[in-house]
Symmetry: D2
Subunit: 297 residues, 4 copies
């Protein structure tokens, strides 16, 4: 059983100036971040631009990341495609590359058809076919579809489905899921904006874009909460809200990449249509980073 | 300065079989609930059917409630109307009746016109005219309008505005507000579904429909959190989710009133168009109450 | 049977500089607009600020309007309150004042409880109690609640319910309603933005904010469509879109009132929290009016 | 300049029992439908499951379809991917295969980053690189993102962008776009549910899922409207609403495929996670088809 406790950064995928994969840059980022007490890494989540890569590129990223991620760190791989077969294919590739578990975003294009039955059948088919455990990924801000507690609980019944990353921020739902799932099911917060509240609802960790640029701060919320230092966790949690919003909901992957450039990692550009943030926003982000005293990695 | 720490039940307004005010029943409820360590009561919030009463009835409820609420308990009075003048008129009446503070729901009918400027001007006019402090009330599920953090923070700058009840459940926003407002501004959770997460974001208490039927459990989440007993607070929080949903988002005032009838308070019916819940739902609610071992008051 | 064919302006309610009713100004507006071939008037719809008036003021407006509206013009009166009893009370007052039919906005505060059963029971109770016919009013932009076709069709089965004003702009739903209701049920478009499309789905007329300032243009869309001059109706329809948006969705009642002031009617201010539009927006509205060549009334 | 007047069916992509492409079945459908006075065909739109195919499969469908589509019928090809480079690649492939124009769905995964600037840059880059004209595709029910009139108008300024398919059903926006775009810009209704209303706002035709199973009825709405027979067009329009909803918003691609099986075309199954509709729904669909007297093709 893989333990998902702790903090995981969802790595952005690095591109060169021609929008081609720059795997060396990705590896450098992994090396730099591996010096922190992170539990592992997610490759090809939303911040990893899974939806922007070809099938071949996806496989190349899995392989390169596994090579760069220390053996004692967990590698999670995003594999969700619009089809069940595509998701299974990605999941097998991730397992072959050495990932420890797959993070499966729900299909969402045909929103009206995504009934509980369709979603359960999809996840169970993937779980059945995958050689490594499956983590459910709910990300309504991007998919436009918010899986409800009952659906998540039903999906969780499969023995190869071990947890969920929830980026929606509905903590009531998170608690409702926790209340109903098997005890070993592991919930991960999907954003540093609600990390501490998520812990009080039963989350055991978080996959946090912010952990790419503020790993220590994110880890300290975790450590402080679980060691009973709530007041300090609360203080850090509030501090993290504005910079977290800047690199997630507000400015997205381009914001996160600009922040990474500033703290000494490789950020670079995202694939178009995503455009780099302009200089004014960059200044705002830098200011938020400086306030927190986030030095270079 | 009024301290809003702790748990407040938002009292339903009692009606007889002709849908007329039954103030004696309201008083009995207050008396029964006053035996618990509640910080006070809210009259004429959403659960109090403020929107369903005439101006005269509103004033009658203020007066009756103040008479019934012990002097050492805070009386909060819902006063929000669609107009600024109507809200001011209600707020003056509440102050005259002896309320300690008013809870002001934002106007929401002309949604497209409810700009930050309009809302700030409204709240400041009310705060200026009100002899007692003003608490902002954000209730997007009913108003269809969710005030954002910047708007709330701007509104909070008036010295007679002392806090906010937020029923939206967006804990990131709650933390963002807490981070930016004056230190003495007091945030109250608007639902028992996210009480514990709200505390971690800086809430000092809650106005909770569930506190009408499970006052001890709600108080224990508060006590356990603030005495550092997080694990126990977490456990109670999860327990409260299903019954809380039943008497709020799912079955609303009719659900709450049925639950009150079952635990030995007066529930009765709401004003139409609200219809009593049917027997099957009543059975579900009773089951949820019995699971929690909520005995008669 | 009242025929609702043709164009009805929803009259704004006139206030003086102290926000008190200025019924003489309302009467002047009615007199000025009565020179056009309008089928009648609506008082106390959304543009009439029904939600901003006291019960007594509501009754005063009904009476004053009926006196001012020529006997050969239909008077529709908005009567929808949050309670069934309040709606019935308003409807009886409107009938007593001489209104020809009431326009009943659905209650919407307790959104989650507004099931089909609740809404049907509400409308049927009102229809049963009302001495004059009832028209359903669906206005999702303000209520935050969009009644679906099945609910509307079920409501329409009562013999005293003769039509619907739909301001949502979902023309598919409009067609679906038309397809299923009794043949004599009359559908009215609730905005000049989709007047012509509504006609093709079976609408027989419209209650249009824009008809206060551009009555001739609105009437010409009606006349051209029903006399088979589609091309001309199309041309006028497109022309009306920007000014219609300006006095409805964009700037609301304050926008409409400013436009009325400009075309020689009395606009004045709305009740607060609604604030007057600023000068820049006023200039935009004036420009849109001038483009259309809408002279003074 | 390609004329988009008239009716186009968006062809579903045919699969065998192993979910592999069944291009012969697709060709048979094209042959059967080519007997009607349709203006052309769309391949790989939403109903064509573009999002469910690999890059190679996409190219195979383009080639097979062009071979099957008569030379005098327009071939439109869906090419929208999440990236600009992917969309350009698909568009070049479509042009090489002989498509007449490409239909480009907007990227939508990173919703918060899809600003007007990002969308305009994306569409203009595609239009610049594409050898054949580009048609904008707005499909909010699937993308969760509704491009507004100003954005569409700005995008339309590029000379290689010749029109728009709008499936959102907001006819006011459709009219607003029509009012502001270059005169030769061609608007197509994206659903038979609002075909007739769309014509009154300036649409010149429609790409209609329903045209796969009721081509004659769809064509008759077009013919009747443009020959001035509004009353008949209205009657047919209302008739089409329920069956159209059944094969689009309600039951989606599986519903459409079941309907195609029933009228003598090849429907088959969609790719999972989409599941076949159950027998009860199939019966409902069959009933709706029979009511309309839609015989076998």
């Amino acid at each position: 059983m893989i333990k998902l406790n702790g903090i995981f950064p969802p790595l952005p995928t690095s591109f060169d100036e021609n929008e081609e994969l720059a795997l060396d840059k990705l590896n450098n980022n992994i090396a730099a971040l591996s010096r922190y007490n992170l539990s592992g890494f997610l490759v090809l989540g939303s911040n990893g631009e899974l939806v922007n890569l070809t099938e071949e590129e996806i496989r190349n990223v899995y392989a390169a990341a596994r090579e760069a991620i220390p053996k004692n760190k967990i590698m999670l791989a995003g594999t969700g495609a619009q089809t069940t077969r595509g998701t299974i294919s990605n999941s097998k590739a991730a397992a072959n590359a050495g990932a420890d578990a797959v993070l499966v975003l729900n299909p969402s294009y045909y929103k009206n058809q995504m009934t509980q039955n369709v979603l359960v059948t999809h996840y169970w088919s993937v779980a059945e076919a995958s050689k490594i455990p499956v983590i459910i990924y709910n990300m309504p801000a991007n998919t436009g579809l918010d899986m409800d507690a009952d659906t998540i609980v039903k999906i969780s019944e499969h023995e190869n489905i071990i947890g969920m990353k929830d980026s929606g921020g509905n903590v009531v739902k998170m608690g409702d899921v926790k209340r109903m799932v098997k005890p070993e099911f592991q919930i991960l917060a999907g954003s540093a904006g609600f990390l501490l509240p998520a812990f009080t609802m039963g989350a055991v960790g978080g996959i946090l874009a912010l952990a790419n640029i503020a790993p220590k701060k994110c880890i300290s919320v975790y450590d402080d909460y679980f060691s009973g230092n709530i007041e300090k966790a609360h203080k850090t949690q509030l501090e993290l809200i504005p910079i977290n919003a800047a690199v997630t909901s507000k400015w997205g992957v381009p914001g996160l990449k600009a922040a990474m450039d500033y703290v000494g990692l490789f950020g670079g550009t995202a694939r178009k249509p995503l455009l780099p943030i302009n200089n004014e926003i960059k200044k705002q982000i830098i200011e938020l980073i400086d306030i927190l005293g986030l030095g270079a990695h």
